[in-house]
Symmetry: C2
Subunit: 288 residues, 2 copies
DNA sequence: CAGCGGCGATACCTCAGCAGTATTGATGAG
DNA sequence: CTCATCAATACTGCTGAGGTATCGCCGCTG
């Protein structure tokens, strides 16, 4: 008989799968197992905790309030376990191989800032190799939480910085990127309201984490190059931090958006990091 | 055959036990199991990770660099798993029972501040019961990490706030608490150097987390009441935040210590807390 | 309203792998 | 050289995780 206080990661993974799918069959498939043992594992978990996590009818599965909490906490815990594995591996690797750190950043964002940072850090005494991982929006925090990256460049308020130590690097307003020659480009300033319903320039649709796209009129895009091309073709628009102006082609125009949220670029790292190189990199960033 | 990326909490618990004891036999005893399966489990873990965590001779066990990382990360991960369990239980409990939140604070610290906070919060609309857990120094952070508490009052720089969201409540200098009539009480200010080696007032010795005491000349103490009594008997001294003056008996005297680190009292909560009551409590604290 | 289909739970079985006992092998101390 | 200590190995037993077959519940449909 297993005692209380002995939850295994396997159980957490099972629960997260069911809680996300809200369907035992699909969850089992995703986990590469049969449905009955999954059902059993979940109800054992519930019995051991003495807590109902799911409300099941034969037609549907829903989360209880406690289940919602569990889902949230379990994701965090699983990330921490995964981070243990990755960071240990990387630590071992660093001792034999050349040490390096992994920096995660959103593709196409803050590139001059990043370039300056990497140059400045490389010039520091005792600096090591920095592997830059370009990832999709919102992916950086996950890499950092799961230990696949050591530092990340994030953008408040878009990215959730809750689990990290951060230092602010730069704060800037936002501009709308519009096709050259469009009516709106004649204005000095715009507001978000002006941009919400421009019939000929619908907002683009980005893929969700699972790869599907939300419904809507705008074009589906995977990256900023695509989007910029669509904008220059007069098919869409975007709102972006001020600093992106330096990289714009001349067939698009930037117009300040007065009431768009201010973007703060931050450098983030796991809260208990004891990595000397990470500390050096952060210090370098703050001196820029 | 278990695939990579499937570390179980059991393995982490085993590793932490061995890494802490640096002795397979004792670790096995602590885990309530025999030594051979523990040895096997650890070497399986190493093989699966492809990383040497321990250097064993038949006389001693030491951690490799990767092992140090693993120990640190594994503790964090295990706390997160434990937190999952506790918070889920508490969430379920809250829905049937009366909801409440648990506040952890160091015994004997910031009592007037805390009293004011609890009163002010109780007067708020929608406030719920607050269970106060008084714990030993440094214990608060563990309660918060493992989900046994929802908020804590911490004191920088003593407590490690790395894993939490915090708001500063108060900053204050420190004073030395001395027996009334002692020579040092005639001074306007003291320095830490003045206090380091007062032959008749040795610094007290507090228990370590495992219950043992460090060696030294000072008296062993378990709590502040004990220590205050020893001070009034002319056997010891202590350095404490300024605000403790209001609770002093008249047979001890407080003298400012010029170079002692400034103490910041902060309210801390887990970084991803979505608890409405916690947010209310923090807001109330900031308005004090 | 009866039959069908989808879905979670139950019953029962198999086997992987975890834990226990006994023993070996290595190494430092006396 | 011998003994004591401690981790690793060999072998065995059994718990419990996972698979298959099936049931029971319920919404849908003709």
């Amino acid at each position: 008989m297993r005692t209380l206080g002995d939850v295994e990661t396997r159980e957490l993974r099972y629960f997260v799968a069911v809680a996300e799918e809200l369907h035992f069959g699909r969850a089992a498939q995703r986990l590469g197992m049969a449905q009955p043992p999954l059902s059993r594992a979940i109800s054992q978990l519930e019995r051991r905790l003495g807590v109902a996590l799911l409300q099941r009818t034969s037609r549907s599965v829903t989360l209880t309030e406690a289940g919602e909490v569990m889902l949230h906490e379990a994701r965090v815990a699983l990330d921490a376990v995964e981070a243990t594995e990755h960071r240990t591996r990387r630590a071992a690797h660093a001792t034999v191989d050349h040490p390096s750190i992994v920096l995660a950043t959103k593709a196409g964002a803050s590139s001059e800032l990043l370039a300056k940072l990497l140059d400045a850090y490389a010039a520091e005494p005792g600096s090591i190799r920095v592997d830059v991982t370009l990832c999709g929006p919102g992916e950086q925090t996950r890499l950092l939480r799961t230990g696949r990256a050591d530092v990340a460049i994030l953008h408040q308020p878009y990215d959730d910085t809750a689990h990290f130590d951060i230092e602010e690097l730069r704060t800037e307003g936002q501009v709308a990127i519009l096709p050259a020659g469009h009516v709106l480009t004649t204005r000095e300033h715009l507001t978000l309201n002006d941009l919400a319903d421009v019939p000929d320039l619908p907002l683009p649709r980005w893929p969700r984490p699972d790869g599907s796209y939300p419904a809507g009129p705008g074009p589906e895009v995977q990256n900023h190059t695509q989007l910029l091309q669509l904008i220059s073709l007069g098919r869409s628009l975007m709102v972006s931090p001020d600093s992106c102006r330096s990289q714009l082609r001349d067939d698009v125009v930037a117009v300040p958006v007065a009431d768009a949220p201010t973007i703060t670029t931050v450098i983030a790292w796991p809260p208990h990091s004891r990595s000397r190189p990470v500390a050096d990199l952060v210090r370098t960033a703050l001196r820029l």
